[in-house]
Amino acid sequence: MKALLRGLELIAALVVSAAVAYLALVADPLDRLEAARERHLALRQQYLDASWKLANLDVLRQQLATMKQRQQAIRKILPDADGLIVGREALEHSIRAALPPRLAPSLELAMGNSVMRDFYAYRPFSMRVSGDFSDIVQFLQRVSSGSERLRIVRQLSMKPRSPGTGVTLVAEVYAFAYLTEDAMAALRKAQSQDDEGKKR
């Protein structure tokens, strides 16, 4: 029994002294070695990526030029939101720009509030305009499906005015815009600050 106790004492002493020696002398340099190895792996990957890019530089230059053109085109269809909303003034300006001059006096525009979704925002707006059928169709085409910008006609009604004076169009339309990474990051930051404020 006594021999067993001595054995246990010796084992305990071995474990404790090994742990203390490890923590005092080995742990810190080992962490530094691990960090240096991780850095090496990252640098190696960067080197391989850069070497691959260098070998394909001409092709990548062409791709970049092509993608920039396509990005410009798609930005016209789904432009950046003005912060986290679809800008009221820019939207109104683009609608008025699409209006044939003869319809200008009769246009009535009403803007709804901008609504935010995961990666985009939209603003509903309604318009009422009177004039010749062909002018109205042309205007509607510019504002909706023929527009460079993504728009959805949600509801529309067209009725004749008094005989010989054309038609009146009433339409509810959605205009869309893209929420950039920066805008979303700002929103997330504001929300987390708001959450923290509520917890306090």
Partner: protein, 157 residues
């Protein structure tokens, strides 16, 4: 001075642990130094390489931005009714049809018109049935006395 054998054994274990740990520390420090030197060499080699290829670095961001917008457009666009084109097409109907009113709700269009004769109505339905933009035209209501007829149809996005 007489030392208890257990105490002597514990002391020996402690000294041995420290010596082993010191030896390990020396080896690890040497490996770290070698690794840091290798990292320095790699970083120096990377510098000029980065300068040469830096001009194409924005490609990834441009591509991601393009794909994100494309995905949104592809999600939303199917709900976009070709309203203007559909109205233009309805304006091409025969003179025997007098268009009175149009109502569009998303992809569902109701056209109210005056069509006196049944055969004219059938011709209109047949014509709308062949349209690229309009589908499934059908009569919703018809007043045989006045000829006022509501025709409903679906818009093809």
């Amino acid at each position: 001075m007489k030392v208890h054998p257990i105490a002597a054994a514990i002391g020996a274990i402690a000294i041995a642990s420290v010596l082993v740990a010191l030896a390990a520390r020396v080896l690890i420090t040497q490996a770290s130094t070698r690794q840091l030197a290798e990292n320095d060499r790699l970083e120096r080699a990377l510098g000029p390489l980065r300068d040469k290829v830096g001009e194409v670095d924005p490609l990834r961001g441009v591509l991601e931005d393009f794909l994100a917008r494309k995905q949104i457009i592809e999600t939303i666009a199917p709900a976009a009714a070709p309203a203007a084109e559909a109205l233009a097409e309805l304006s091409q109907l025969p003179r025997s049809v007098v268009l009175k009113e149009l109502n569009l709700e998303r992809l569902h269009l109701v056209a109210t018109s005056v069509v006196r004769r049944d055969e004219d109505l059938q011709a209109v339905i047949a014509k709308l049935g062949t349209s690229r933009l309009l589908g499934n035209p059908r009569v919703r209501t018809r007043d045989p006395k006045t000829g006022t007829t509501e025709v409903e149809m679906d818009l093809k996005p």
